[in-house]
C-alpha cells in the first residue's frame, strides 16, 4: 500500500518535472541569451517573466482583448502574444539603459562591466516590481482557463497508482518545447542568428566584420526578454502571481543557465529542465514553504561545486 503511494508520487513528480522543467527550460533560454551568450548580468530577468505573466493576464483575462479566442486557446495565444510586447520593452531597456553598461562600452574594463550591470538591473528590478505593484496591485491573480483544473489520467499503473497530467501544464509544455525548437533553429541556422552569436561572442571583432553590434545586442536582449516572457505567460495558466513573483524565478534561471553551461542555448534549456526536476522531487520530501529555500540551496551548490561551472576557466591569466 505504501509502495503504491510512493510509486504514484514518484511518477507524478517525474511527469510534473518534465512538463514544468521544459517550461523552466524555455525561461532559462531567455536568460541564457542575455547572461550566457551576451554576458550581461541581468538582475531584472525575473521581472521580465513577471511582465510576461501580466501581459498575458491583461490580454486574456482582464483586458479581454483575446477573449474571443475562448478559454482553451486564449491563454496560450496570450502567452505567445506577450513575446512581441516584452521584446519591444526589452529592446528599449537595452537601448536606453543596458547598452550604457555593457557591450562595446565595457570591453576591456576590469570586470567587463558586471558591477554596473548588476546595479542598473537591480534598479530596473526595483522599479518594475514596485511599479508593478502600483499598476497591477498586490492581490495574487491568475490567467483563468478550465484546463488548469482538468487532468488526463494514466493508469492505474501499479495497483491503484495513477499518473495525473494537468492539461494546462501539458499544453504549456508543448508550447514551450515548440518555442524552444523554433528559437534554437533560428539562432543556429539563420543569418540573423549567426550575427547575434558573433556579436555576443566578440563584439570588437564583429564590428570589424561589418555587424552592427549595438543593433544585434538590442535584438538579442529583446529576444531574451521575450522568450522569458512567453514562459511567464505559460506559467500564468497554472500558478497565481503578484508583481513580486520574479525573485523566486530569477534564482531558478541562474541555476539553470550556470548548470547547463554558459553560452549554450541547448545547455540553458537542459539546465532549466534539471532544476524543474529537482524542484518537483524536493516536493516529495519537503514541506511547501521550504521548496523555494531548497532551490536557493541548489543554486548555491551549483555555483560552489562548479565555481567555474561547466564552462570557462577560473584562473586569471597572470
Amino acid at each position: 500500500m505504501d509502495l503504491e503511494i510512493l510509486i504514484e508520487n514518484v511518477l507524478n513528480a517525474v511527469t510534473a518535472g518534465i512538463t514544468i522543467g521544459c517550461i523552466y527550460g524555455l525561461m532559462c533560454i531567455g536568460l541564457g541569451l542575455i547572461f550566457g551568450i551576451m554576458r550581461i548580468v541581468n538582475f531584472a530577468q525575473g521581472e521580465l517573466l513577471m511582465l510576461g505573466m501580466f501581459a498575458s493576464f491583461y490580454l486574456v483575462s482582464e483586458g479581454r482583448v483575446l477573449s474571443f479566442l475562448g478559454p482553451y486557446w486564449g491563454p496560450f495565444i496570450g502567452a505567445m502574444s506577450a513575446a512581441p510586447l516584452i521584446f519591444t520593452g526589452g529592446a528599449l531597456l537595452h537601448k536606453f539603459l543596458i547598452s550604457r553598461v555593457s557591450g562595446l562600452r565595457t570591453v576591456g574594463s576590469l570586470d567587463e562591466g558586471h558591477f554596473g550591470q548588476l546595479v542598473v538591473t537591480l534598479g530596473i528590478s526595483l522599479i518594475l516590481q514596485n511599479g508593478g505593484q502600483i499598476l497591477f496591485g498586490s492581490t495574487p491573480v491568475a490567467v483563468r482557463t478550465p484546463l488548469s483544473s482538468e487532468a488526463f489520467l494514466i493508469g492505474p499503473v501499479y495497483h491503484g497508482a495513477t499518473v495525473f497530467l494537468n492539461k494546462a501544464k501539458l499544453v504549456a509544455f508543448f508550447v514551450a518545447v515548440l518555442a524552444a525548437v523554433v528559437l534554437y533553429v533560428t539562432l543556429e541556422y539563420t543569418r540573423l542568428g549567426k550575427a547575434l552569436r558573433a556579436a555576443a561572442d566578440n563584439p570588437t571583432a564583429a564590428t570589424y566584420m561589418g555587424i552592427d553590434v549595438d543593433r544585434a545586442y538590442r535584438i538579442a536582449f529583446g529576444l531574451g526578454s521575450g522568450i522569458t516572457a512567453v514562459a511567464g505567460g505559460l506559467m500564468a495558466t497554472y500558478i497565481s502571481f503578484t508583481p513580486f513573483v520574479g525573485f523566486d524565478y530569477v534564482i531558478i534561471m541562474y541555476s539553470g543557465v550556470v548548470l547547463g553551461g554558459m553560452g549554450s542555448i541547448f545547455g540553458a534549456f537542459w539546465g532549466g529542465v534539471t532544476v524543474g526536476f529537482v524542484q518537483q522531487f524536493s516536493a516529495l520530501i519537503l514541506p511547501p514553504q521550504l521548496q523555494n529555500a531548497a532551490i536557493f540551496v541548489v543554486f548555491l551548490m551549483i555555483v560552489l561545486l562548479r565555481p567555474q561551472g561547466l564552462f570557462g576557466r577560473s584562473a586569471e591569466r597572470a
Binding site: G123, I124, L126, Q133, I134, F296, F299, A318
Partner: protein, 592 residues
C-alpha cells in the same frame, strides 16, 4: 597606516562630531512623531549602508544579500524579548555574535566565488532564511510592551531618545569604518578590490581580509537590524530579510559615494526622507513608490556619476588636497641592507632549486619536466619563444597555479602547494607581464601594500616603501595615483612593490615589454643597481639583446621543456636554440 592618515582621521572625527551634534539639535526640535521616526530611520539605514560599504565598497565584494545580517539582528532582538524577556541591550550584542557566526558560515564557501557569482549567491542567503522563517511560523512577531521596566527593554515614550540612540550607534559605526579606512585593513581591502591577484602576489592574504571585512560588516548590519526592530516593534521576514532591505544598503551607499565613510551617510540623509515622505503622502494611491524611488536613484547615479555624490561633488567643487610628497621620516632613513640569508642547513646549496616541474592544461603540457637552479646573487634569464611556458612557470612557482609534478625549494623549503601570499612571505617577489597596479591608490600606497604584505608594522612599512621608491628612482611620483603613470613608471612601481616586501628572490615577468630603447636602458640600469645591492633575480624576457647585457646565465624554454642552460654566449650559439627562435632554414643557412 595610509599616508597622511593621522590628520585625515582627526579631521574626519571632527566632522563626525559636528554633524551629529547639529543633526541632534535639529532632531530634538521636531515634535511631529512621524517626522521623528524618519529622523530615527536615517541613521539606522546609514549605519546599514556603512556596514555594507566595508565589505562591498572598500573590499569590492558586491553583496546583494546583506539583509541576512540585518534580519538576524532584528530577529535576535525580537525573539529574545518575546521568548526569554531578554533585554535588547543584550539582544543587540547577541545578534552581533550570531551575525558574526553567520558571516563566517556564509563567507567560508561563498568567497570561493568572484564578481557577479558572489553577488548572486549572496542574494540567495537572505531569501533562503526568509522562507525558513516563514516555515518556522515567525510570519509576524510583535514585541510585547513592558511599561514598568522601559529602560531595561529599551522602551521609551519619548521618541527623541530613539533618535539619540540611533545617532550614537551611527557614530560608533562611522568611527569603526574610519579606523578601518585608515589602517592596513582598509589598504588591504582597497588593494584586493582593485587587483586581487596583485594583492596576493604582494603578500596580502586576500581570503582572510575579505573574511574579516564580512564579519565586521555583518556584525554592524546586525546592530542596525536589531535597533530597527526595536524602533518598529514588529518584524516580518519580508521587512528584515526581504530584497528591499538589501537593496537599501546598496542604494544609499552607491548613491552617496562608494568606498567613503560619508557616502552611505549622505545617501541615507537624502534618500530615506524622500522615500519615506513619498510613501506617506502617496502610499495609498501608489503603494510601491518607495521602491520605485530607490530604483530610479540607483540607475541615475550609476549612469551619471558611478562613484556617487561624495566623489563627484568632491571632484567638482572641492579640489582634492594636492598629493602629499614623501613623508618626512627624520634622519633615520638608511639605505636598504642587503637581503640576509637566513641561517640554513643548505648554506652552500642554490637559493632556488626546481626539479622536474610539470603543469598541463588539458592535453597541452605548458611546463614539462623543467629543472634548473638559481644561485644567490645571480641574475638568471628565462628566454624562449611565445608559448614556451615561461609565464606558466612563474605562475606555478608563486602559487597562482598548482603544479602537476615536480618540486621547487627556496633555500631548502618547499615552495609548491603554498598559496600566492605565502610564497611572497617566504621571500619571493613577483611582477607581472601585464602590469597589475592598484590604479586608484597613490604610488606610495601601492608600494606600502607590498611592505604590509611582508608583515611590517606601520612606520617601518612606510619607511621601507620610501626606500624602495628611492631604489627605483620614483620618489618624485610617490603622491600620484598609479593610474596616471607611464608604462615605464608602472614597471618600476611594480618592481618597488616587490622590493618593499624585502624579497630574497625576484621573479620578473617581461619587465621590459613595451618599452622604448631609452626607457629600456633606464630600467636595465635600475635592475643592475638592485643586483649590486645583493638581490637575486629571475627574469623572463623576449629581447635577446637586453638579456645579453643583464643576465649571468640563461635557461631556454621551448614548448614547455628546457632546451638549453648555460652562459649567454654559449646559449646563443646553441643550434637548437637558434632553431627554436629562427627556424631550421636559418640554421641551415648559417651552417652552409
Amino acid at each position: 597606516m595610509k599616508q597622511g592618515a593621522g590628520p585625515h582621521l582627526r579631521r574626519n572625527l571632527t566632522v563626525l562630531a559636528v554633524v551629529s551634534v547639529v543633526y541632534l539639535v535639529v532632531a530634538m526640535s521636531v515634535t511631529n512623531s512621524y517626522y521623528q521616526l524618519i529622523l530615527t530611520l536615517v541613521p539606522v539605514w546609514a549605519l546599514f549602508g556603512v556596514s555594507w560599504n566595508i565589505l562591498s565598497g572598500y573590499g569590492g565584494q558586491l553583496s546583494f544579500g546583506h539583509a541576512s545580517f540585518f534580519g538576524i539582528g532584528a530577529y535576535a532582538v525580537t525573539l529574545g524579548v518575546v521568548y526569554w524577556s531578554l533585554s535588547p541591550w543584550l539582544g543587540i550584542p547577541l545578534g552581533m555574535v550570531l551575525a558574526g557566526l553567520a558571516a563566517i558560515a556564509i563567507g567560508f564557501p561563498t568567497f570561493r566565488l568572484r564578481g557577479h557569482y558572489f553577488a548572486l549567491s549572496m542574494l540567495a542567503y537572505p531569501l533562503a532564511i526568509l522562507y525558513v522563517m516563514q516555515y518556522l511560523g515567525f510570519q509576524e512577531v510583535s514585541m510585547p510592551m513592558h511599561r514598568e521596566s522601559g529602560l531595561r527593554f529599551m522602551e521609551f515614550s519619548e521618541p527623541r531618545i530613539y533618535t539619540l540612540l540611533a545617532v550614537l550607534l551611527l557614530v560608533g559605526g562611522v568611527a569603526v569604518s574610519l579606523v578601518i579606512e585608515n589602517s592596513r585593513f582598509g589598504l588591504a581591502l582597497l588593494a584586493i578590490r582593485q587587483n586581487e591577484l596583485a594583492a596576493e602576489a604582494a603578500g596580502i592574504n586576500a581570503r582572510l581580509w575579505k573574511m574579516r571585512s564580512l564579519v565586521v560588516s555583518g556584525m554592524m548590519g546586525a546592530v542596525a537590524g536589531g535597533f530597527y526592530a526595536r524602533v518598529l516593534l514588529v518584524v516580518t521576514p519580508d521587512s528584515v530579510f526581504g530584497m528591499l532591505v538589501s537593496a537599501q544598503a546598496v542604494v544609499v551607499t552607491l548613491f552617496g559615494g562608494v568606498a567613503s565613510v560619508w557616502g552611505p551617510v549622505i545617501g541615507a540623509a537624502i534618500l530615506v526622507p524622500l522615500a519615506e515622505t513619498l510613501q506617506a503622502e502617496l502610499g495609498t494611491y501608489l503603494p510601491g513608490i518607495q521602491g520605485v524611488v530607490y530604483g530610479i536613484a540607483i540607475i541615475a547615479i550609476m549612469l551619471l556619476s558611478p562613484d556617487g555624490l561624495y566623489w563627484t561633488i568632491g571632484d567638482r567643487w572641492f579640489r582634492r588636497a594636492a598629493p602629499d610628497g614623501i613623508p618626512d621620516l627624520g634622519p633615520d632613513l638608511e639605505p636598504l641592507p642587503p637581503p640576509v640569508r637566513r641561517a640554513s642547513t643548505h648554506a652552500a646549496g642554490p637559493l632556488l632549486q626546481v626539479e622536474g616541474l610539470s603543469r598541463a592544461f588539458g592535453g597541452l603540457r605548458a611546463v614539462s619536466d623543467v629543472s634548473f637552479s638559481i644561485t644567490e646573487g645571480e641574475i638568471l634569464g628565462i628566454i624562449g619563444p611565445n608559448g614556451a611556458g615561461k609565464t606558466t612557470l612563474f605562475n606555478v612557482l608563486n602559487g597562482v597555479l598548482a603544479a602537476d609534478e615536480g618540486s621547487a625549494r627556496l633555500d631548502g623549503q618547499a615552495l609548491l602547494g603554498r598559496k600566492t601570499f605565502e610564497v611572497c612571505r617566504m621571500g619571493v617577489g613577483r611582477t607581472f607581464q601585464v602590469v597589475r597596479s592598484f590604479p586608484r591608490l597613490s604610488v606610495l600606497d601601492n608600494v606600502i601594500v607590498g611592505a604590509y604584505g611582508a608583515g611590517l608594522a606601520d612606520r617601518e612599512a612606510i619607511a621601507q616603501a620610501v626606500r624602495a621608491l628611492h631604489q627605483v628612482g620614483l620618489q618624485d611620483r610617490s603622491g600620484v595615483p598609479a593610474g596616471q603613470l607611464t608604462n615605464k613608471q608602472l614597471r618600476l612601481m611594480e618592481l618597488a612593490r616587490a622590493l618593499a616586501g624585502h624579497p630574497r628572490l625576484l621573479l620578473l615577468d617581461e619587465t621590459l615589454a613595451g618599452l622604448g630603447r631609452e626607457e629600456c636602458d633606464d630600467v636595465l640600469g635600475v635592475l643592475a643597481r638592485v643586483r649590486t645591492q645583493g638581490m637575486t633575480i629571475c627574469i623572463i624576457e623576449h629581447t635577446m639583446h637586453a638579456m645579453m647585457r643583464l643576465a649571468d646565465r640563461f635557461v631556454v624554454l621551448d614548448h614547455g621543456r628546457v632546451l638549453a642552460t648555460g652562459l649567454p654566449r654559449a646559449v646563443v650559439e646553441d643550434a637548437s636554440v637558434i632553431e627554436a627562435y629562427l627556424g631550421k632554414k636559418w640554421l641551415a643557412r648559417r651552417d652552409a
